[in-house]
Symmetry: C2
Subunit: 472 residues, 2 copies
């Protein structure tokens, strides 16, 4: 490590440890040169490095300052979806997104894919390889319909962190969270029923609503506090809503985590209208705060909350291990899980169970939590630096996706198309609405490790945006 | 190998090669002793061995005879289900069956599990272990929503054997055949629609009908020729049936294969009523005849046949690799597959693709086909020997399950319960009816390699039946 790298690492550490807070002035070049016994140019090089990483900014004639983390001033506006239940459209757009392989060249930030290059996944991969070699017969037969008991036991252990007291018999393992959500939707509804959802909302759950012959009632949602309980209550008064489907912790795509208090109030509201809550907790374990936030399920007194999750965002989507804590709907959920895809493969379940049991999962999560938080700050800085000043952007409390709101007259479908030609991929806004709203928004993933790549993606986006402006 | 074993092996070979046909008298003990230069007692021991394997029978004062294969005289009667569409019941009974682990002691013949101890699976297991070790990253990311292209290419190759000309783009890979069936049902129907099915029928597809809010119209079905086209046509005239779901090749549970001619007539019938056919071909590749029978899909001119299959019966259910050739319903099928469980894991798909490509699959199938046919004959002989003479039993053309029809007043639910206490498991008849018919029937698996175990299971069944008789 060279002298300047060494210095920039130390400064970075000090910023991360909070010795210098966002907005603080950092020591002058001269001062650092003196303190560390290095040349002026070494210090300058170190600061250039930190600027590059968008951790500090140089203010002319004032020196270097820690980049601000908070961008509360330009969060996306509260959403204003249509005030009635509607059929979900946008499948063709979702399909086009899904069909983009991640092996394409360029910077593909359209899928909510976690960083899977981290060495903290190695113990899991080794277990998978070992099991495959040493106990291949486990990969052949049917396992327990509800999932491997070893895994369900470990899932109960994880549940404690979110405030849940679960028993292995309370759980049903699924083929990822997508199956969990689909199964739960079918378990608590009849065809034609209405489901209340956040707006914007994850396209996978909305398409599941469509496929189950349900209607979606999009509820206004704040980018920092989540679904509007006032608007939800009005909707509950007005329409025969059968269930509420929310992602209250590290929301996809908005990134917020609802407060414990609000989670409990949402639960009480569901209780007073006697309806079910389907809680998508897929990003819950990679909230940046530790211990992780409580789930709505942790307030559940009467089994009306169906918690859905998986290891697709915390570990890797290809593992295809998800689960449901279905509460009072267990029997119906088990039935629909059976018809949906029968038993889940045993080996990945056992490998994950061991990964949790031996502490590998906790270690991995700890690493990813810190990494993603840093990458969020970097991405926010890059957006602030390169995108137009009226750009609004979410401030996620966890996970690795940002929601960006552009000028009203920008069409993100066209923007995506143009950016794709330049090798940059992200997910256009209309996919996150049942009815194709959010045309001027997009979701972008920042899990990719390469800081330069992420920054170059934003630069390309900015230059394409400039072309758009000059055309209009 | 001892002298008597050597002799019995030779005799067995002659029987299998057809030198001696079922019912033929075999050479006398004296004659064989002379021909082979062995003692009388050696020949007697050899014959005892063949009797044990139920290949020959000793008739007092007449000598030894080859056991008959054909039992056409006592096939189960044509079924007579209720003449109207009905909701599917029996979930609790199916659930109880599914919850019986295969790791229980005794002889568990309730699940339609293939023989997974065969060495012909070794190349596949090796590939799986190698991929897991050498390319673990393939197990982490999302693959193609429609399934790995390598696998889809190999599936097209397999399709040729059943008379189908498919293109990789015509296929959607699923998480086993259960997902394939569920997805197809949802793709071709709206809630409340009616589906025509064989009777008896696989409980998994019936439960999928239930979960999709559909009604089942059970059609009378012959144990040797399959669904009655006359009865089906009457039903099509009388009810607004939306699709026909059939397993025309190595039917579960009846074992028959419909003739090519009848398959084509069924297709024409669907064409004239302009409805879809969902064809479950899961056992198709382990038909005993070679080349394997054609599928209904092979007659498809206008894309109305949705072929569903998987490697769960031919290779191993734990692999969870199934597929759909959805014809004109491809877009809807892709949508529902996506919401059902998103992408399928990549590694098992690649391993299976390689298994097919390098010839391992063909070799494996060839072995299993011959093995299962022998085991069928043995099981039929054991049933003939030990169960009451009025027992009716199917004569499967492939696969590894038998359907047994007992005296009308035998309750198979109680019989199963009693046999379970004695360590023998099989599947009671009512699970195979939408409305709990076939109480005096059961399905039994004969894939298990241990001949003695299978025979002991039948003996125990016989002794429990005797107790039942004495009680009534």
């Amino acid at each position: 490590m060279t002298l300047y790298q060494d210095l920039s690492e130390r400064l970075k550490e000090h910023i991360e440890l909070g010795f210098y807070k966002p907005g603080d002035k950092l020591p002058s070049v001269r001062q650092l040169s003196h303190e560390h016994g290095v040349s002026i140019s070494t210090v300058q090089e170190a600061y250039r490095q930190l600027e590059q990483e968008i951790l500090v900014e140089a203010r002319p004639k004032s020196g270097y300052f820690v980049m601000p983390k908070q961008r509360v001033d330009n969060l996306p506006n509260v959403s204003r979806p249509p005030q009635r239940p509607l059929e979900v459209s946008q499948w063709e757009e979702v399909f086009n997104l899904l069909m983009i392989g991640d092996n394409k060249k360029g910077v593909q930030l359209q899928h909510a894919m976690p960083d899977m290059t981290t060495p903290t996944l190695k113990p899991l991969l080794k277990t998978l390889a070992d099991l495959s070699k040493q106990k291949p017969e486990l990969g052949l037969g049917y396992g327990d319909l509800r999932g491997s008991e070893e895994l369900r036991t470990q899932l109960c252990r994880l549940g404690v962190a979110s405030g849940c007291q679960l028993h292995p018999d309370d759980l049903v393992v699924t083929s990822g969270c997508q199956e969990a959500l689909s199964v739960c939707l079918r378990a608590v509804t009849d065809p034609g029923d209405i489901i209340a959802i956040e707006s914007p909302s994850f396209y996978g759950s909305m398409q599941a609503i469509k496929a189950a012959n349900l209607k979606a009632m999009e509820i206004p949602t704040h980018a920092d506090t989540g679904i509007s309980l006032e608007a939800l209550e009005l909707a509950l008064d007005q329409w025969p809503i059968k269930a509420i489907l929310v992602t209250p912790t590290c929301n996809n795509p908005l990134g917020y985590t609802m407060s414990d208090d609000k989670k409990e109030r949402l639960y009480r509201l569901a209780q007073s209208y006697d309806i079910a809550i389907i809680e998508d907790d897929i990003y819950g374990d990679i909230a940046y705060q530790f211990p992780r936030p409580r789930s709505i399920k942790s307030f559940d007194e009467d089994g009306r909350v169906l918690l859905c999750s998986s290891f697709s965002k915390t570990v890797a989507p290809g593992i295809r291990v998800g689960w449901i804590a279905p509460g009072r709907y267990r029997d119906k959920v088990t039935h629909i899980k059976y018809v949906s895809s029968s038993m889940c493969p045993t080996l990945p379940q056992l490998a994950i169970a061991q990964f949790i049991r031996l502490g590998g999962y906790d270690k991995h999560i700890r690493t990813m939590r810190q990494r993603y938080e840093k990458q969020r700050d970097h991405m926010l800085s890059a957006i602030k630096r390169y995108l137009p000043s009226n750009t609004r952007v979410s401030f996620p409390d966890g996970g690795f996706i940002l929601w960006v709101e552009l000028d009203k007259d920008i069409d993100s479908m066209k923007l995506v198309e143009q950016c794709r030609k330049e090798g940059v991929g992200f997910a256009p806004g209309p996919l996150f609405s049942a009815t194709g709203k959010y045309r001027h928004c997009f979701r972008i993933n920042f899990s990719e490790q390469g800081m330069e790549q992420r920054e170059s993606a934003i630069k390309i986006l900015a230059s394409v945006l400039l072309q758009f402006k000059s055309l209009s």
